[in-house]
């Protein structure tokens, strides 16, 4: 995403041009408000006293500032443990998947590898079909993965799309680098570990970011495979349960207080707090890493 070829307007701006600019800037500011407001609102509600929020009128600023909601949320053993599981699957899942995908990508980037075509085809074919919900569920049951943490990790050990992206990156590396490693007597695995992995870091950063976001955000596998195992729940799944509860009652919350701490917290304020907790890591990280994300998008996208 370098520079755009912005037309260089040196000619004096016409009235119409100016009107266009004003409208355009106004539109952009509105767009940003619509994008950001819900998060700011959630933050304000999460920092506001629960019973006070019930009165309504909390928009971008808390009225009765308090940390009680956060205190309440993190005193819940379930949520604390769910945070731990979320972090574990994100870290482990991303590390394993990135390493394994890079390894497979390396083998199919070797032009003289005998199984190259077979391995590539076997992986690429799987992009077009899927056994589907029930067959996958039955497989996990047969493999005794239900009720296990590994059901989050094992089905995603390698990502086909990641393999393809990493492979095309490796193929663009100058030939001489890999050759010189081989002349120095390094085996394939050593070459991969010592030469290829460090050189592919830029693309690995991209693929691992997408994988990490996927892991952090997933809840469906928890729902499907581990819904009766509270010790394997994740943050997103806990938030999902809260959402389903309020769907059932039809309002965004009720007046019932939840005791436990000195002051009261309400389902609405707990939900807002959970929303912030579940999205904060991403909100904090993505602006700094967006160039990697964007690179991944254009790498995977079509070239016009």
């Amino acid at each position: 995403m370098a520079k755009t070829n912005q037309p260089n307007y040196k000619i004096k701006l016409s009235v119409g041009d100016r009107a266009f600019d004003i409208a355009n800037y106004t539109f952009m500011i509105l767009l940003m408000i619509v994008t950001v407001y819900p998060f700011v609102n959630m933050l304000a509600v999460s920092l506001n006293d629960g019973m006070d929020s019930v009165k309504g009128g909390i928009h971008i600023w808390p009225r009765v500032l308090t940390w009680d909601n956060y205190e309440y949320v993190f005193k819940q053993a379930t949520i604390l443990h769910a945070t731990f599981i979320s972090i574990s699957r994100t870290v482990l899942g991303t590390l394993i998947s990135t390493f394994c995908s890079a390894m497979v990508a390396y083998t199919i980037s070797r032009p003289d590898f005998v199984l190259r075509k077979f391995v590539t085809l076997a992986f690429v074919l799987t992009m077009y079909f899927n056994g589907g919900l029930i067959p996958n569920f039955l497989l996990m049951r047969e493999l005794d993965l239900l009720g296990s943490f590994w059901v989050y990790i094992v089905p995603g050990i390698v990502g086909v799309f990641n393999i393809i992206v990493i492979r095309s990156f490796i193929e663009q590396l100058p030939d001489g680098i890999l050759e010189s490693a081989r002349i120095d007597g390094a085996g394939e695995f050593t070459t991969f570990m010592r030469v290829v992995l460090p050189l592919t870091m830029p693309v690995l950063a991209t693929t691992s970011l997408f994988t990490a976001v996927y892991h952090w955000n997933s809840w469906f596998d928890v729902f499907l495979y581990n819904s009766s195992h509270i010790e394997l729940s994740t943050l997103q799944y806990e938030l999902m349960k809260m959402l389903q509860n309020s769907n059932a009652t039809g309002t965004s919350g009720s007046m019932d207080g939840m005791g436990g701490t000195a002051s009261f917290v309400t389902p609405t304020s707990v939900r807002a707090t959970m929303t912030i907790v579940a999205s904060l890591p991403i909100i904090m990280v993505y602006p700094f890493l967006q160039r990697y994300f964007v690179k991944g998008m254009t790498l995977g996208g079509v070239k016009g």
Partner: protein, 333 residues
Amino acid sequence: MSGTEGATALLKNVEVESSVGRVPPARKTGLSLFLSRLVKQRTLVFMSVPFILWLFLFKYVPLWGWTIAFQNFKPAKSFGEQQWVGWKQFEFMFADDRFLQVMRNTLAMSLINFVLGFATAITLAILLNELRAVAFKRFVQTISYLPHFISWVVAATIIQTALSTDGGIVNEVLLALGLIQEPVLWLGVGKYFWGIMGVSEVWKNVGWNTIIYLAALTTIDPSQYEAAEIDGAGRFQRIWHITLPGIRPVIVILMIINLGQILETGFEPQYLLGNGPNLDYSENLEIFILKYGMNLGNYSLSVAAGIFKTIVSIVLLFGANHLAKRMGQDRLF
């Protein structure tokens, strides 16, 4: 590339020569050459074959489960004991009013997402391109990517809060503008659901979807704009005659790709925001598959619906690919 082709050529050579009998028996034949190369490249084999086994188990073995759609599947029975019913599950499915409604919902939401998604992303990309302050433009872009990265669970929570009748921002704004007289229970009325999905999808992804167009816009030669300006073309004329044609190939390709995914309406937003009152409009194919399979325990019908979805998707995908080729674009895959 050349290496493997060379090897294949070599293999062919060996075969041809041995068939004519000009090669001494000591020379390696196809199979033993393959095996000896396999042994020589054993490190590469060890680095990839375990993952092929993984792939086979997790991606190819579940295909065996497709047989369930042709049975009256009972989980307690073994494969040999299952009752085979042929196409009965499919016949039942296509005759089911619920399924037809689900297909209607799926196609309607797809179509709305398709039209709204393209229109908004292209418009936003063009408007961003017209911003002259580079720092401001970057800032807007960064902000606009945010909703793409958060989970649908968080997004659904946000949407539900914004649409609620007790202090939801949407009702508040509409009331303040005098567009409605009293708060509307948006998620409780079925006929609003498709529209809510369309707008939610735009809110979440419009910024992210501009990336590919903005990348394409950088390839437009700036001298075209200068020439147009000298010829007296206004802002809209430049957008219409230079910017839009410049990104047309990308638009066409993306549209074709998306046509291939017409049954992929997504699952999460519909599932998370679907509730009793809007069920007739929110239930799509994926939810149908989930409900029949996991809630009702009718595995056979669920798998049949899954097969239907996969087969139609593959046909559409290859059709789209064919279309792209005919239109002179690069193949999509």
